[in-house]
């Protein structure tokens, strides 16, 4: 083994070991459990079969999955629409001396637990919450803001926004300003500069940020439970309830494994457009 190889092994071994054990191992456990049956006391009996996967295909659960994909897609799009201008401003317009401080502000919410922040949103949105107090003070009727899909989306977008701003910032910061000058000089109006130069060149950041937002949103359960009042079931809360409430470990494992496998498959199928989106070559 050459010194270069030895160095690579030493540097990568801890992470590789951790990932193999924690990701590979847990997925193997999930797969094994998902093929079994629920025992009377909430354990797993080992008579193998695909019954749990067949059950997951029942219309009831497909609707849950569709709702989750819808939430994840809406969260991703809303985060892109809200986050891209912020990242653009931070990377290209903000005074350079303030950039670092502003970036810290973007990740400041991470200093508090997501659970606590969800409770904070409940205090803001509930019927006698701050928003409705303010509305009442100026003589407007109270609104029903909490326990609906909009509140879930709001909480999700709020929680995921930093994850999309950071990769977008990284790709926008690398964008050479002379390219924008060149596009304008060659007759591109501001909208065309954005569409034909800025977006294609920041495509890697858009993809990275979208994946970082979409996947956690797919399995979200805190925002659906707390802000949605568990009135609408999403995949994340469904899986959580199979393990914690219904004590049906095999079905929960099947849902969980199918979701992970589905996400990986989707990423693999979309690998070309995700990677080559920037290659708008004429």
């Amino acid at each position: 083994m050459s010194p270069r190889h030895r160095q690579a092994v030493l540097l990568l071994a801890p992470a590789a070991l951790l990932l193999v054990v924690l990701v590979g191992g847990s997925q193997a456990l999930m797969l094994a459990a998902s093929l079994g049956r629920r025992s009377a006391y909430g354990g797993v009996t080992h008579d193998w079969g695909l019954q749990n996967y067949l059950r997951a295909l029942e219309p009831l659960y497909v609707r849950v999955l569709a709702r989750s994909v819808g939430l994840a897609a809406a969260t991703t799009i809303a985060c892109l629409v809200v986050g891209y201008p912020v990242a653009y401003w931070l990377a290209r317009r903000a005074p350079p001396t303030m950039r670092r401080a502003l970036l810290v502000l973007v990740i400041l919410p991470f200093w508090t637990s997501f659970l606590v922040r969800m409770y904070a949103w409940m205090f803001l949105l509930r019927t006698e919450g701050l928003v409705n107090l303010a509305l009442g003070a100026i003589g407007l009727p109270a609104l029903s803001l909490l326990y609906n899909p909009t509140a879930v989306l709001l909480g999700q977008v709020y929680g995921e926004l930093p994850f999309i701003i950071l990769p977008l910032y990284a790709s926008l910061e690398k964008l050479d300003p002379e390219l924008l000058d060149a596009a304008a000089d060659l007759g591109a109006a501001p909208g065309q500069v954005l569409r034909r130069v800025v977006l294609p060149l920041t495509w890697p950041g858009i993809v990275a940020g979208s994946i970082l937002v979409f996947i956690p949103s797919l399995g979200a359960y805190l925002a659906p439970d707390l802000l949605g009042g568990a009135r609408y079931v999403y995949v994340g809360s469904l899986i959580q309830s199979q393990f914690a409430v219904a004590r049906d470990i095999p079905f929960g494992a099947a849902l969980s494994f199918a979701l992970s496998a589905g996400v990986l498959l989707a990423l693999w199928l979309l690998r070309r457009p995700l990677r080559a989106g920037a290659g708008e070559s004429a």
């Binding site: 050479d176 002379e178 390219l179 000058d181 060149a182 596009a183 304008a184 000089d185 060659l186 007759g187 591109a188 109006a189 065309q192 034909r196 130069v197 294609p200 060149l201 920037a278 290659g279 708008e280 070559s281 004429a282």
Partner: protein, 360 residues
Amino acid sequence: MGRGAVSLRGVSKSFGTVAAVRDVSLEVAPGEFLTLLGPSGCGKTTLLRMIAGLESPESGRILLSERDVTDDPPHRRPVNTVFQHYALFPHRTVAGNVAFGLEMAGRARADIVPRVERALEMVRLSGMGSRRVDQLSGGQRQRVALARAVVLEPEVLLLDEPMSALDRKLREEMRAEVKSLHRRLGTTFVFVTHDQEEALALSDRVVVMNDGLIEQMGSPPEIYDVPRTRFVAEFLAVRNILPGDVQSADGGAAVVRTENGLMLRSRAAGFVAGERVWVGVRPERMGFDGAGENRVAGVLEDRLFLGDRSEWRVRAGADLLTVSEPGTSTGRQAGDGVTVTFEAAALLRLVEPALRPPRP
């Protein structure tokens, strides 16, 4: 009429508290090759970017082809720019880069393809259209940048130090190419450079800028032979510049006594008896023990061998002169006593520019 004329009228621009361009007025004739020459920070690039519309002036007007474009955004101006670092779009092929402006103009595909081909042919890149730009050498990128700018047939082509990133050999090749492109297109070229050789070789007219102001403008021989200010002389390699007082001046013959006591004769116009001036002589106008009204005794200090000539540093009292000696061999060595000689006609009268507007 007037297509390709550029007219700058009292244009000013500052960045924060730094005045980059100060009340500059300049007329560029249609089809002219005009060079803005000066050190970095003299305002030449800012002036070019204002013509392109990439910066807006704080005061003054800019006219292109006799039309006021001061308030037009860059994408509506009939000019195109070759940028210092080429600014090629990395997500497009060579042909995709050249086609960009035509696409923005909404040209039909059938119209774009032959135009792109012709533009690539013009810069000798036929058949390279499908290459990615990161597969190109520096010189090839430069050519793509040129093709991309000229394919739109701009009324004025702006070039912002386009050769500064190339090595010397390539730079000389590109120089010839730019000159031939100008001849073939007949378009007005406004060229920015800090390289005096490049400016002299290419231009119909050179504008020397310093500190946001035009210091002197004229044809390359005028600028080279008769630099009027100390700054222009220094920038154009007049190496021997000395301060002095005019002892006498009448009818095209003046005597100047330098600060360190040399008495020098000049035929330059404009001397006034009693004034403080700077005088300058180019190293190549000086010789050793030759003819000439001006004779200065000195001692050789050291020699820089430059191939076709040598440059001697000569100690003459408190002054250090630079004298160029043609040829590869020399019979002299450091320590030799010499007489530096030059014609009165070689002694330039240089002034500090008077009447500078006060810095804001």
